[in-house]
């Protein structure tokens, strides 16, 4: 293989590595460092942080609120991303292939709109929708005074996130389904294969890679998503306090920067584990 030579190769990657070091590795190490400090936004530990070793980590792991957040995050990711966005995205992509042109355009535009609008705008609209007094949903259902975000906080953010993020899965699966050769589908039909069978034996092998990639991406996005905070504020009573919200509430609202950093690092590790898990699945498929 004709190479660049080590010298030139290094020259080429140095800018990229420098950027990664400055904006990824360094902040990660910084987080690691802050995580071993008692370091607050105000008070004496703001001026002179105290070294506390792994105390923040043991504190976090012993905090029932942390365990609550991990479980909520898993439920949020599982229900809204892995099942919700994936499922709905695929269904839309599959159904729209056979739909009339104008229907496809209309649905595409609507779904995309919920994805591309800024989070603050969207949340404002959802607040108007779910408001306890005079919200649109209560008017439609004839349930005046129903406090959706207070009575069903997890369900609220799950439905919201499905609505918000389905567009990506839909687009990705539309493209993926285009890659399934029409001849295979026709052959399947000629042999009398039903839709489920066709999906399992013809479509699935072609789009498995897409499913994994899509699931990996939306899992990580949802895991780190902060938008639910704008809708429910993590409440009531921590019932929609996913990990990013928990980090915000402890480090910014509670002012415990060191403790927040420790949790952030734990989140980073969980993210890496998720990514590795999917990457292994992808590789197994390739090999």
């Amino acid at each position: 293989m004709a190479g660049l030579g080590v010298g030139r190769a290094v020259l080429f990657v140095v800018p990229a590595l420098a950027l990664i070091a400055a904006f990824l590795v360094f902040p990660a190490l910084w987080t690691l460092y802050l995580g071993v400090l008692k370091y607050d936004v105000t008070g004496s530990n703001a001026a002179a942080p105290e070294f506390v070793g792994l105390h923040n980590y043991t504190d976090a792991l012993a905090d029932p609120q942390f365990a609550n957040s991990v479980l909520l995050t898993l439920a949020f990711v599982g229900l809204s991303a892995v099942i919700g966005q994936n499922g709905l995205g695929f269904l839309l992509a599959a159904t729209l292939r056979r739909a009339a042109g104008w229907v496809r355009t209309l649905v595409n535009a609507t779904v995309l709109l919920s994805w591309i609008l800024p989070g603050t705008v969207v949340v404002f609209l959802w607040q108007a929708l779910l408001d306890r007094n005079g919200g649109t949903l209560n008017a439609l259902l004839g349930t005046p005074g129903a406090a959706w975000t207070l009575d069903h906080p997890l369900a609220t953010i799950v439905v919201f996130n499905v609505w918000r993020g389905t567009a990506f899965s839909m687009l990705l699966y539309s493209a993926a389904l285009d890659a399934v050769p029409t001849s295979h589908l026709e052959t399947a039909r000629l042999y009398g294969s039903g839709p489920l069978r066709t999906f399992r034996d013809v479509v699935l092998p072609h789009i498995r890679g897409h499913i994994l990639t899509n699931t990996l991406l939306i899992t990580l996005w949802t895991f780190n998503d902060f938008t639910p905070y704008m809708l429910t504020g993590g409440g009531p009573d921590h019932r929609s306090e996913t990990l990013p919200v928990y980090v915000y509430r402890t480090s910014i609202e509670g002012g415990q920067l060191g403790f927040g950093s420790a949790i952030s690092l734990i989140m980073l590790v969980i993210n890496l584990v998720i990514a590795l898990f999917y990457l292994r699945l992808l590789r197994r498929r390739g090999g």
Partner: protein, 480 residues
């Protein structure tokens, strides 16, 4: 500098970490100032720019204050400085957000070594800000003249204490408030309750609530609880109740916070009775991020019987003037809204054996120690606390200011504020000047929310106790 080796395992990791931590320790302990000790720096600058920031915005939150600063104070001050041969431009940063969020924003900008030159600080934050190096005693920032300011003579002692720590001034006070129980006389009449009402125990409050509960569509009682209301929960609810149960949250003599004590459990029990067992209040208002505003709109529209609030409600929420109180203004406030002292749990059971209790807040304007123009900033600070400017700030409204002369002139025009000044301030308490107060306060909010939601008191109190111990250590917690 602190010890920093992080017990790294491999040489490579160790090297990386040490490099990182060296850099980072630099950042983390980078103390603002040190170079900025000269109080006379830039005193003769040809041109100076000052920024002032408050949580007020023209046409929105605290509109009166924002309009005063932007339209009256700044032009007048710039003109006065020009007359002295100084060219000073003042920029006003308006905000119209939740108080807690505003605090977070301010703290983060101070942490980054920035922030406005002049800002408002609550008396309860002085300790935690000073310990962090965000504020300094005024004599250190502008020199001895801060202590010799003529205006101090007009400041009542308790109010001056509220902007001081260890006998040194950290700001120039802007006023003081007090908490009472406001009630709707029309609803009281309909429920068969006296329109001149003064409960003498917590049981009296609940008894009134039970009568109000019989009126259809009426929410009987609102005593702030839970985390979404933030500091309003502690100031309007928990701390006055705690004072009524005979305790203050922090004892400066023993340096101890209240942990799982009888008084704390009594307060939690009151919340639980009010919201969970007897359902004399609307639990959802305590859980909704906009619950406090909703409680205001309920009270102003005659759907809420009793609300524990500061005189802020009277002045800035239900006042008859629509330009100040906007949607929640009550044209018939003076005849409809009554006010009563907050009773102790039982007569004589309050703090210091009192029958009635209250909590007061308030704070003052302070100067960022990092300012480039400390002398100009001091000029502005004293200018804005002149009698003329205090009156301009009030406009047509009445408020207990930090100036006796102004108070003597204006309070007699408003019976509610006369009541606060004469009856409430003598029995009131202030929040502790201790740096962990806000963390403990957050735990009180959490605990009150849990109790209101009906969780058993023993469990709530135990969790609260564990939380306080975590914040201040076992040695600084009382429990019995």
């Amino acid at each position: 500098m602190r010890s920093r080796p992080l017990a790294a395992r491999s040489a490579a990791v160790l090297a990386a970490l040490v490099t990182a931590s060296l850099t980072v320790t630099g950042c983390v302990s980078a103390q603002h100032d040190e170079g900025k000790t000269n109080t006379q720096r830039n005193a003769n600058a040809k041109h100076a720019t000052l920024t002032i920031s408050t949580n007020a915005i023209i046409g929105g939150k605290n509109a009166q204050e924002a309009t005063w600063i932007e339209k009256t104070l700044i032009p007048a001050f710039e003109k006065a400085e020009k007359a002295k041969g100084r060219d000073v431009t003042v920029k006003y940063q308006q905000n119209g957000i939740d108080d807690a969020k505003y605090g977070e924003k301010l703290e983060l900008s101070l942490k980054a070594g920035g922030g406005p030159d002049i800002f408002i600080i609550g008396g309860d934050s002085i300790s935690e800000y000073a310990k962090a190096g965000y504020i300094k005693p005024l004599d250190q920032v502008v020199g001895k003249k801060a202590d010799n300011w003529a205006g101090w003579k007009q400041v009542p002692k308790g109010v001056a204490n509220n902007v001081s720590m260890d006998g040194r001034y950290y700001g120039v006070p802007n006023g003081v408030d007090g908490r009472v129980l406001f009630y709707n006389k029309k609803l009281f009449a309909r429920a068969g309750l006296p329109t001149h009402w003064q409960p003498t125990s917590w049981a009296d409050i609940l008894a009134a609530g039970r009568k109000l509960a019989k009126l259809p569509g009426v929410n009987p009682i609102q005593i702030d609880a839970g985390t979404p209301m933030g500091e309003a929960t502690t100031m309007q609810g928990f701390l006055p109740l705690l004072a009524g149960a005979g305790q203050q949250i922090y004892d400066p003599k023993t340096h101890k916070y209240q942990g799982d004590t009888t008084a704390i459990r009594d307060v939690l029990n009151f919340y639980r009775t009010l919201y969970a067992t007897d359902k004399l209040g609307d639990l959802k208002l305590q859980q909704d991020p906009n619950g406090r505003d909703q409680s205001f709109s309920e009270f102003s529209s005659g759907k809420l019987g009793i609300i524990g609030e500061s005189d802020y409600l009277w002045r800035s929420v239900v006042c008859p003037d629509k330009t100040i109180c906007t949607a929640t203004s009550m044209p018939d406030r003076d005849s409809t809204v009554g006010y009563a002292l907050i009773p102790a749990e039982r007569p004589g059971a309050g703090v210091a054996g009192q029958d009635f209790v209250s909590m007061s807040g308030g704070g003052g304007y302070t100067i960022n120690p990092n300012t480039d123009y400390p002398q100009q900033a001091w000029d502005l600070l004293t200018f804005m606390r002149s009698v003329t400017q205090i009156k301009a700030q009030l406009g047509g409204t009445v408020q207990i200011t930090a100036n006796k002369q102004v108070n003597d002139q204006i309070l007699k025009t408003d019976p509610a504020l006369t009541f606060i000044a004469d009856k409430v301030l003598p029995v009131t308490r202030f929040r502790p000047t201790e740096e962990h107060y806000s963390s403990v306060g957050a735990l009180l909010e959490e605990a009150s929310g849990q109790a209101a939601a009906g969780k058993p008191i023993d469990e709530v109190a135990k969790e609260y106790q564990q939380g306080v111990v975590k914040v201040v250590g076992t040695d600084h917690v009382t429990s019995n």
